[in-house]
């Protein structure tokens, strides 16, 4: 009986590695073949064609710093600028990202979150709020760009 069992065990032990491989690779293949690539918006296909073209202009519209180009002509070319928002600066504040986007545009000038500079970018959500915040921080609106946006100057 024992003699009969040994060849069977030997055979079984030689099958185990192959069965192990088959199970492991079977599971991996199943995972790979059933993985779905998430859908993307239709315009992605159109935009993709421009990715490696010589002209990157179309993507410049998506540059987070691009909206701040309208402020540039009214600001000194080398001085640091205060960035005035709806609420005082706080790292957890969601509007902080606008300050960082402005920095991206105005580098190497510093965009400062505290009212220490001569000139300010006023970036509030309404004109009323802009005036209120400018008053609170010691600035006056010298050039309005509408919708709570404009250029401020520090009061003496």
């Amino acid at each position: 009986m024992r003699n009969q069992a040994i060849p069977f065990l030997k055979k079984a032990s030689s099958v185990v590695p192959e069965a192990g491989n088959a199970i492991f690779y079977g599971i991996i293949l199943l995972i790979i073949l059933t993985t779905q690539i998430p859908a993307t918006a239709d315009q992605a296909l159109v935009l993709k064609k421009f990715l490696f073209s010589k002209d990157e202009k179309i993507f410049r519209f998506f540059d987070p710093g691009a909206p701040f180009s309208v402020f540039d002509p009214f600001l000194p070319p080398k001085e640091n600028i205060y960035f005035l928002m709806d609420t005082p600066y706080s790292p957890e504040n969601a509007t902080t990202e606008q300050l960082q986007a402005a920095q991206r545009y105005f580098t190497p000038r510093f965009i400062v979150p505290f009212p220490t500079e001569k000139k300010a970018i006023i970036f509030c959500s309404t004109d009323t709020l802009a005036e209120k915040r400018a008053h609170e921080t010691g600035y006056k609106l010298i050039h309005s760009l509408g919708n709570g946006k404009g250029i401020g100057e520090k009061l003496p």
């Binding site: 185990v16 590695p17 192959e18 192990g20 491989n21 492991f24 690779y25 599971i27 991996i28 293949l29 995972i31 790979i32 993985t35 690539i37 998430p38 993307t40 918006a41 315009q43 992605a44 296909l45 935009l47 993709k48 421009f50 990715l51 490696f52 010589k54 990157e56 993507f59 410049r60 998506f62 540059d63 987070p64 640091n80 790292p91 902080t96 990202e97 960082q100 986007a101 920095q103 991206r104 580098t107 190497p108 510093f110 400062v112």
Partner: protein, 485 residues
Amino acid sequence: MTIILKSCFIPFILGFLTLSVLLKKIKLRYKILFLLGASLPTGFGICSLALFFSYLFNPIQAKSISIIITLIMTILLAQYLWPWVPSPYRFPVFFTKNLIDKHRLPNRLLHVASCILFLATLAAATHHFLLSTALNISGGWDARYAWTVKAEFMFRNPEEWRRMFSPQIFWTHPDYPLLLPTLLVWGWNGLGYESLVFGPIAALGFYISCALFLTWYLAERVSLISGWIGGAFFLAIGHYRFWATAQYADIPLAFFMTASGLIMVLSLQSQQKNLFFLSGLMAGFASWTKNEGLLFLLWIFLAFILVLYFKHRGKIKTLTKSAIGFMLGSSLPLLATILLKVFLGTTGEYLGPKRTAEDYLGLILGDFNRTRIIFEAFFAYMSSFELWKGLWEFSLAGALVLGLRKKTDQTRTTWFLFLIVILINLGNLLALQTTAYNIIYQIKTTFDRLLLHSGILAIAFSFEALTFTKSPKIPENNLKQEEKF
């Protein structure tokens, strides 16, 4: 396509030549896969360092100096290789014999099928990467406001590039390593303008390199079929693709950690000093990419010294040789990181808390509630099938199976991979345990990215541990033979 050629040609060639010189006397199977996988990231790393040191030396002429340095390096390396590159025996050995094993027909069919699976997955992943990039070319927060802003300081006003370390823009982490910002500047210099497309190209380069390098390693250690399937499995993990699209530094860091760890496995097996050097170089680049890379460099150094100590029963000469090789490899990127931390970015929040060693010890050992939260996060994130496709469960199963298998030289070095995966995550645990931020906020914003760093090593470990081969594919002395061309 011109944009890819202009920005990536020199880094690729430079990386290719550097690796070819270092591997010249080392016999590796599927060397072409190794070179395809590692050349671009290595070249990116070298160009980034050349640019950084040029800025330190003479910022106004930095662009020209860095280009001259890289061109001279390329010429010298090519000249060193020249006698054997055009050998008529070289290319057949290099490209065909090593790439397709001569096996039975069913095996050959499996090879072809697995290769097609890999290529199809690669094409699908790349297509999705490009679609996502077309919709969000600036990437995620780090890419938009940290790496790009720092690169702008260097590119727009080289003379005053050190303003990028000012506390005025503390949110860019002034003390953070500079591989990605300097790489961006390198690409912009090549193109002549602040390209929005170069960032995604570099990110895609690192992502594809991860897949190819993993494929090479599994082909070398397990089988070519395992390599293709392992590479396809990596590409199927959407989590990696998502963070590659976001252009975060985590994918480059994952590449360098993976390359360093996988090359170290071969170094331990073969004792080749050039492999130790190469592993050190990759670990050095990891430290030049992210703070976690510095910790990784320390871990891998301690781990391999420990393994060699037990393997050679404390033979000081062997230990010293290997350690020197590793340290020489990591020296330049590490020097750059140290210069940055000590002299340039001294006001960052990571050095900012100004805690004493006692404070750190208290945080590590004394805050059990925080430790519990971190372990719960490990469990929750690692067990997410949506994120990881079962990778961590495979790793656990691999550890159990490997423990039961017969001990061979190959299985012993496979354990090294597991050790590195554990150490990287231990580093993550320590970083979270001592963070100055609220722990829940920190876990929500960083935890899934932290796991990316050790994920590719975990794939390599799982495939090695869970694949049964009749005998080790490569005899230990195989790597030691010199290639004859």
